[in-house]
Amino acid sequence: MSENAGEKVPVSPKASGSEHSTDVKVSTHSSGTEVLPEPKKLSNKELKELKKKEKSAKRAAAKAAAGDNGITGGNTSAGSQNIKHDDHQKNKLQTSSNIKKQLNQTKIKEFKKVPPLFSHLETREQRILATTPQLANIVHPSILSLTLKYSTYNIVGSTPRCRAMLLAFKQVISSYDTPEGTTLSRNLTSHLSHQIEYLKTSRPLSATMGNAIRWLKQEISLISIDVSDKDAKKELCDKIDQFIREKLELAHDLIISNCSVHIQNNSTILTYGNSEVLSKIFEYCHSKENKKFRVIIVDSRPLFEGKKLAKKLCSSGIKCQYVLINALSSILNDVDYIMLGAHAVLSNGRLYSRVGTALIAMSATSRNIPVLVCCESIKFTDKVQLDSVTLNELADGDDLVKIDKKPIKKLGFALDQFLKEKSLEEEKEKLKIQKNSNNNNNNNGSKKITKEQEGEMNFLTKTEPLANWKEISNLNILNIMYDLTPPEYIKKIITEVGSLPPSSVPVILREYKST
């Protein structure tokens, strides 16, 4: 590890600086009430204190790392100052748990490599660092598996994610026991908060999930103290089922009947990525209404979600055309409607959806093709945002390294780290063996072998030109998940409460709040 740090000496002071800022940001992020207002407020004091301690430990670790770099690289006076500071702090934090933590951190720690414009966004590593390791002990197994599924993109799309989360919560609730001295209505929320905290390490919460969590917490707080735990749990599970049925399933049915009028015989519909409700609409129009129409599915790297939709539609016999987003201008000529799914619709009428949606909506608008957005009203959020840069989800840059037409297969974070470490170790061992054998041979031979090895390495990296992108200081990969479509590009939003223009989103939100 120290070798690695040594290589990146010029970057290190900056890195430690960003660590500070992100630490601060993390705290503001979780207390800044955007998606989840309750969890922080309700979490008990103990946990807060624990977190504070950990943060200070993290800072110390970061400083220690920077200090080490300063020594190895013979770097600037800032490094030496850090060391002095550290000596004070180290004495304070010489507890065994802290040392352990520091060890853990150095292991996971990776230099944040994000283009400067997007450095305010959280990386996967940062998300994982932001949580407390102790959390894993109180996290329900169903949440653990769900977290893994989220982070490996096995469950994608805000609706499926929301549904899976609610189902997991059902399991959490049914296996929950109220500790002595508290009541279910008080303690369950904080228990859930821990689960959510852990869930957030995989990917940030989607708008639907945020809305569902808010609703669930509301429901929990409404349970009277007199109700027995068993009854309360049953009631909550029923409510969750009802929520899924009302807000997702029935909403879909209504959207389908609202939207099916737009698909006529011989029409061509273009869609982007994979939306659950859209695939239901297409299948309904095909099988129930016997309409003959053509669907153009536009797709993009690296998730290739459109492939799932194409498979689904093809297997049910709908005529499909599958293209990638670079073919956009070639296929828009004979399209009647653009139908898009949504991740969220912001209260200023902007559509927050899979990156690339905005490009399609723009191209369609300039060709006078109407753009329809189909989404459940649970996706409406009272957030406002003006561009895609300020708030977005940063995915792993490594996902783009492999040039492949198949969807990426992602490993869980821990497994990924483990494999990386292992391959590093193996390489080191190989080098050691090589060195030993070389020592036995004469010098000329050794040079040859190392050259051959280099050739081998080059050959390995040849298949993927960017395999070592993290080591090239001027090179970055940007992989964001969403973009923001301006309301001018959207003709109407079809929801279960009717079709409306983007400007009416805040109206619906207000109605919801008043009820």
């Binding site: 993009s300 499909c320 599958y322 723009m362 895609s388 970055n476």
Partner: protein, 399 residues
Amino acid sequence: MSSQHKDKADINVHIDSVVNKLKRRQISGSYTVAIETCQLLMRVISASRWNHPDQLIDIIAQVGKKLVQAQPREFSSGNIVRRVLSLIRDEMNDDNDVNNGNGGNNNNNNNSNYINNSVNNENQAMISSMFALLTTNENKKNTVSNQQNLQQQKSQVSSASAQLKKNTHTQDFRSIIIQGIKELIDEISSISENIETMSVDLIHDNEVLLTPTPGSKTVFNFLAKARLKRKFTVLVTECFPNETEEAHKFAKKLAAHKIDTVVIPDSTVFAVMSRVGKVIVGARSVFANGGCVTSSGVAAVCECAKEYKTPVFVVAGLYKLSPLYPFDRDSLVEVGNSGKVMEWEDSQLVGNCEVTNPLFDYVVPENIDIYITNVGGFSPSFIYRIVLDNYKAEDVNLE
């Protein structure tokens, strides 16, 4: 005589081999095609037998037709052929000037050719600038480049001595044309140098640039040169599926030149466009209306740039300028291997799903702000003028 036959057979073999290579896309990319065409034409001109420049024009037009048909969507071969043809025609004009000046026997021709002249003058007035409006006909009468005129001349000059003179003259003509083609090759290979010098005028410090055509050498040279004077960031789109590997290598090369480089997927263009200062595009070919053909996906990028009022500039060598007019977008766009979009083992999809993989894209002139060529920067609306400067109207159609 047999050696002549052999020459002819030789050159035909050579033409066929180039045509076949073009058909198999073994020669592809406008730069290589252009250079290859130049070399082929040089060989054709030196190997073929002709008595009169008109015959040469015919021969070259024939070769040009074959080359164009071999790769109909690669316009640089046709452009080079037209450039060479216009070179020959210019040379013929100069010759006539000289001949007319010397030979007094041409005077009696003037009457018979008067109508021709007037037609020709009109033609020229259309093509050349307004400054020529007030010049007298005296000059024009002499600058007859008409075929008939030449044929008449030929019939008049029939003595043996004249024939001999002509033979040496053809030899001169040949070497002049070949020299011209050599200059053309020089021009093509030094294009990036000329374009590079403009980079400083177009990029300011700390600017964010976006390039959707990572396969372009011109773009790379432009950026590398600009880096010597300016510090900037370049966003490189991946151009999946056709040029992704090139894109990644391009990004790596830029990073090696100490340019801050960010690789972005094609879909991310809209999300980042608000932060982009300029879009730099490498063109495959540029048309008379100011539109251009580039790699697929660029049209959407330029549209997006237009939406954000981000300037788009296209870098292209002069040899990419085509005198054709892009009436039909679909005829310009080549469609490639759909296996790059979807793996064949995906049996569920392969049989049932239509998959398309267009290789090129046509960008409309409205979405382009400026063209940077080796002879300077021009707005798209001015491209037709550059086209007229470099090509002759009678060569637009190679038939």
